[in-house]
Symmetry: C2
Subunit: 146 residues, 2 copies
DNA sequence: TTGAAAATGAAAGTCGTTTTCATTTAGCCC
DNA sequence: GGGCTAAATGAAAACGACTTTCATTTTCAA
């Protein structure tokens, strides 16, 4: 990793190593805060901005990408070989991943038809997971009033 | 519209009428600021929070939905009969819409397999439109340094 | 070893969003 | 039409995630 970063013009530091390692241990849909706290448990001296900057760096070198579901909190998702979409349950606020290889193929075709050059595909479905659906049936939830 | 809102327990006001009308004139990918300024051109006395609250109300009653591309700005998109996805060009920052009827069908099937109850589908592709791709070829853009 | 460039941590700044609160208004009942 | 209650409004402040600043420290190539 030190070598990998050096070729891109970045230096290795103890903080960076800890942050990178912690990120890959968490791996999926990581928020800055989550990573910050994980790192902090191992080294109380690391600052929030250092965690944030390194998360950006991880994205910059192509090892992760931002995921945005619209709740104002940016999540960082390790880049994997297999493209995947997200089911986001607004009950338990958890993600379920699913494969989108063929969907991406279709999308790429549609993009070509529109002369659009795709770089990133975001496929997200919001709804309720099995567990939360059962719960919400019992105590049907009323949306907040204004 | 007055009637429609009344059945849901909301009142009609001059401000609300103006805001609703202005929103539907703009129609697509509307930001709070855009709508605020459009409304203001017709009535200088309308407050920002009123515009914001009414935009939320439009979503609440199912006439629009939030679109989030990850730039920290929420856009509001009129709900249409035909489900559509977005190509977002990060060159000119414009959206191109495309039909996703069949894609949504496939997604719904995948959701069923995961016992997930879908409520909203977000299909977004980031990249470059035809015009911006030609431009960026000529003057190949270097990503901002840290 | 040394110097330039990069990285760090604390603090402050930014900016879109959301809430608060005093006041006004809509619309139901008589 | 008048009275009443809940909803709506506008200004301002609060919120909160994200980003930048700056003085200091550290890395690493020469």
């Amino acid at each position: 990793m030190r070598e990998f970063l050096r070729t891109k013009g970045f230096k290795m530091t103890p903080q960076r190593e800890l942050i990178f390692r912690s990120f890959f241990e968490l791996g999926e849909h990581v928020t800055v805060d989550e990573l910050y706290h994980k790192v902090r448990r191992r080294d109380r001296s690391v600052g929030y901005s250092t965690v944030w900057r390194n998360l950006k760096l991880i994205c910059h070198v192509g090892l992760a990408e931002e995921v945005n579901i619209g709740d104002g909190i940016t999540r960082y998702d390790r880049v994997t070989q297999i493209p995947h979409g997200h089911f986001y349950c607004h009950g338990c606020r958890k993600f379920i991943e699913f494969e989108v290889e063929q969907l991406v193929g279709v999308l790429a075709q549609v993009a070509r038809e529109h002369k659009f050059t795709p770089e990133e595909f975001k496929i997200e479905v919001h709804g309720l997971c099995d567990g939360c659906r059962r719960k919400s049936r019992r105590s049907s939830i009323v949306p907040a009033a204004h």
